[in-house]
Structures are given as C-alpha cells and as structure tokens.
Symmetry: C2
C-alpha cells in the first residue's frame, strides 16, 4: 500500500524513474522524423501529453485492456507477441473508424521480476509495430502488480464527419470482410497443445500472435463503406453489435466466408481476435477485391428487422439463426 510502504529510501527511489527514462528513450527514438507530420507536440515527461489537432479533422479515441491469464498467458505468448497484440488491438479500433493513428498511451503494471528481459521484449514487439505505422508512444503510467496488466489508449484523426460508425448501415447494404477468418482461433488452439513450438518463430503467418491491424483498408473505406466494426470478439458477436447499433438484421452465406486455410467454419464464425474489418456498403457501390493490400469478400446482406433472427446463416441450403458465440466477459 502506497502510504504504508512509503518511507525515506532515497537510494532506491530512482528505480521507477529509471524504467520510465528507458521507455522515454525508446519513445524518443521512435519519434525521430515524426514531429513534422504528426499532431503530437509534447510526449512523455509532463502531467499530460499535448496534441495540436489539424483543422477539419476529428479525434477518435479507444482504450483496450490486455490482462495476463485473461487475454494472454505468459507460458503461451512470447513477450514480443504480448506487446504487439496490445498495440494491435487499439490500432484495429482506429482502422474500424477509418482513422490515422496519431498517438499511443500505455498504462503498464507488472511484477518487479519482469522489468528486465521480459519488459524489454514486450517493448520490442510493441515498438516494432508502432514504428511500422508511425505512431508515437506519447505517455502512460507504470505500476507494480502481481500479474501483467496493460491498457492501451490510441488517438487517431479522421476528416470531419467521415468516421466510420457501426450505426450507419442501411437495409440492402452488402456485408464484407477483409482478409481471412478463424486463423487466430486456429493458431490459439495449436498454442494450447504445443505452446513452446511458437516461441521465437518469425512473424509470418501468425494470425494469433502477430495480427495485422487493417489501417490502410480502413482509411480507404471512409469513401466506400456505410458502417464498419473490427472483428475482435468474433464474426457472430461483432456482426450482432453492428446490427444492434444500426437497428437492422443480417443474413450471411457460409459458403462465401473467407475461412483461413488453417481454420474450421466454426472458428471463422465464432473465433475472435482476427482483427479483420467487417463493413457494409451500398449494393450500388463498386467495392474492389483488394483494399490496402488485403483481400475483400462479400459475405451477406443487411435487412430490415422482421420475425427472423438478428443474424441468419445460410449453409448448405439450410437457414439457421447464428447466435453470438464469441468471447464476452462475465458470462
């Protein structure tokens, strides 16, 4: 407890400050050459970071928790993957709004024993992804805890009035997804069976350990889509969210789903954490087969609410209600 443990121990007081100074150096390296293009004017080191928004732009904000033994396990996920996934979750939310990343904030709590090698590798994974998408680490908080807790906050910018919402789908719109589905759930299943196989391997084809946020596709969608959401909880759950926010129902065709080569249909329908984009567009809109370097498939259609289920699945000539089967807490 803060007050209880507090006493004059000036020699040891520097420990947290040194850790933060190390992170600040890494963040500063990342910032090199960035200040001119971004809106961040003051990063780590003050009570707050300062951003100077551009005219005619809106700011979008998202936060996502990554908790040990809930969102990852230290014996399954290498620290680089934990850092990558932590940032990827937030970037994927920006992608779903069609936004450009402007600044990341990380609140990180971890046991003292992990502040060396493990934390360094966590930041290796985090910073590699941050560098790729040119998003500066602008601040955060740090604390000691018994298990790893990471909360990622991302700010992005989007032209005024152009943010992609979940609520703007219209009856008759076609439903699309980027990339392939179920790969993350399939890799997680493999990890459960043979955790050590995956540690240290390269980052190609690791949809669970190193998912790719679809930022380029998201930005192109601001000119094509009526609504969008990222697939974090699973297609069945996230499509239900989109239906609810738009006040509509949906029907999807199992045969049209881009199921990942490693995955089952079940995993494609209900497996979470693919971090692909699910979006709707008018049937009149010409949607390309590829957007921002990733494939796009039409999988169904939005409908007015009626007697049927919120989401109806067509599969081998049969129709059935598709219940939300993805991950939710507090079940």
């Amino acid at each position: 407890m803060k007050g209880k443990e507090k006493s004059r121990r000036p020699k040891a007081v520097a420990a947290e400050r040194e850790l933060i100074a190390g992170i600040r150096r890494r963040a500063d390296q990342l910032l090199m050459g960035r200040r001119k293009s971004g809106i961040l004017t003051l990063g780590i080191g003050d009570d707050c970071a300062v951003l100077r928004p551009r005219r005619a732009k809106e700011i979008v904000v998202t936060t996502d928790l990554s908790l040990e033994n809930v969102h990852f396990r230290r014996d399954w996920h290498p620290p680089q993957s934990v850092g990558h996934r932590c940032l990827a979750r937030g970037l994927s939310d920006l992608a779903a709004m069609g936004a450009r990343p402007e600044a990341a904030f990380l609140s990180l709590a971890l046991p003292s024993a992990l502040t060396g090698v493990w934390m360094d590798a966590f930041f290796d994974g985090f910073m590699a992804l941050a560098k790729r998408y040119r998003v500066p680490l602008a601040g955060g908080d740090m604390a000691k805890s018994t298990t790893v807790v990471a909360d990622i906050v991302l700010l992005g910018s989007v032209p005024r009035g152009k943010a992609l919402l979940r609520s703007q789908a219209r009856a008759g719109d076609l439903i699309y997804v980027t990339g392939a589905l179920g790969g993350s759930a399939a890799e997680l299943r493999a990890l459960e069976r043979k955790p050590k196989d995956f540690v240290g391997k390269d980052k190609l084809r690791h949809p669970h350990l190193y998912p790719e946020p679809r930022l380029a596709a998201g930005r192109k969608l601001t000119r094509l889509a009526t609504a969008a959401i990222d697939l974090s909880d699973g297609l069945s759950t996230d499509l239900a969210h989109l239906c609810q926010e738009s006040g509509l129902t949906a029907e999807i065709d199992a045969d049209a789903l881009p199921v990942d080569a490693s995955a089952t249909l079940e995993q494609a329908l209900h497996g979470g954490e693919d971090y692909e984009l699910l979006f709707t567009a008018s049937a009149k809109t010409v949607v390309p087969d590829q957007l921002g370097g990733v494939s796009v498939h039409a999988i169904g259609r939005m409908k007015k609410p009626g007697k049927g289920p919120q989401v109806q699945l067509h599969h081998r000539g049969k129709r059935s209600a598709l219940a939300a089967g993805g991950w939710e807490h507090f079940r």
Copy 2:
C-alpha cells in the same frame, strides 16, 4: 483464457453487454445538456469515441492506473472512494496543465462477484465527481480479473500554446502550492489503524478518500504560472520532477509550508496524493492568496543548478538536502 473458454453459450453471452449497457445509461444521463458545450460528438457504443476539437485549442491527454492492493485496498477504501479517486487522479493531471476536462475513458477489470453492489457504488463515486466537473464518460473497456484494475484516461482542452508545463520554470521564480499538504497521508495513516471508522462517512474533510482536483485554480494559472505539476507522489518527489524537467534546483522553507492541521511536517513533505498544485511564477507576478476557491502559499524559490542539492530545505535556521521521499514503484 479467451480462446479456451470460448464456446457457444448464447444465453450467458449477454452478461458483459448488459453491464456495459448499464454504464452507458449512466454515462448518457451524465451527458444530458452537455453536448452543446463540449467537444465530444460520439460516446460509448462504437469502436472509438469521436471528438471535434475547437479551433485554437490543443488537446491534452493523461492516463493513470488504480490497482487494488497497490493504490487502494478494498477493506480500507469504500467503493465510492475508489471511483472518486480514480477519476480525481486524471482530473488533477488536467488541472496541472491548466486544461478544461472534455472526456473520460475508463478501462475497468474486476472479479465477477463485484459487478453488482460494489461496481454500482464505484460508479456512484465516479459519476458524482464527473457530474461536478461536467466531464462525460466517453468510452473504455471492461474485463474480468482476480483483483480490481482501473485505468482512467482523460482528455482536456487548453488554448493553443498555453498548456502549463513542468519544464518552463526559470531561475528566480517563486514556488507556490495550493491548499494544504500532508492531509492525505495523515488520513491514510488513520485508515490503517481503524479502517471501518471511515466507511460511509460523509465527504467533508477526507483529503485521502475524496481529494479535490484543483481544476479552477489550474485554469487561472495559465495566465500566472511559468510551470506546474500536481502533487501526486509527494512534494519532495514532485518538486524534484519539476527541477529536473526545468534544469534547475530549488530551495523551500519548511516554516512557509501550509501543513494540513491533521498532518506532520514529514507528511507534508513526503506524503503523496494531496492532489494540490505545485507551481512557479516570476517574482514580479502578483499571485493572489486564493485561486479558484483554494488558498495559495509561496514556499520557496527556483535556483540555477550549482554545487548544492537538487532541493534544499530550510528548517529552523538549518539547511539540508531534501531527498525525494515520496512514492515510486519498483523500489
């Protein structure tokens, strides 16, 4: 683990959604009448919240962790206090920048057993403070965990170029603090001895359980102060931060310190979580005795770095080095 526990349990899936719907209702109530004056255009319910910054304003951002058994204890702190303190920490950072609160985001993880009465009371404390300062709850995240984890994110706005920084103090500036110091540490000590005495009591004179962020004073300081920081870690530690960021040293006079009536000099020097503002102003600036309804005292002076310590304390005619004795993690 996410993937492992996942299965089709549609009846139970609604639990998290219902909790979030309840929070959203409370957040919507809070928003009533707010939209016109604030910059938040879209709150809870999409992948991100959307804010439309005003021209000639900058956005400031801060995040703060509140962890059970690190920042609070459930047997000492009533849930209303945990919610209040969580938000107050972030608001105090905005105060230290001279900013006006625009939106709060809360990432909250807690055990299933606490999602009823405890969580309701947490939000009672959180929302009461949010209402007082007209800050909308615009989003966040929610998860299940073994202990309570709360990460608060606050966005504020400040006129362009007017944010109060830690780094702009000048040699010769006088050092001031708002309010009284040490009251939080003194109340925490009393809590340690007789925890149950405090639960459920009213909110008057509870500097530890219900600290008051100095937002009105902070906004006035944008026209008076050269630098500012909030007193979260303790005067000795936070003044050292300000000295470091400004490249200066400081001397303070123990007899000039506004020590809280319940506190010792030790607690005023090193006790954290008073959430008062520490600021510097030119010796030529006329600083009023009261700012935004809170008293202000001059306690010392900034100096060029020399042979002496970073912070020197004058007490009963003697001079000594004041080592940073406040709270830091990972000591």
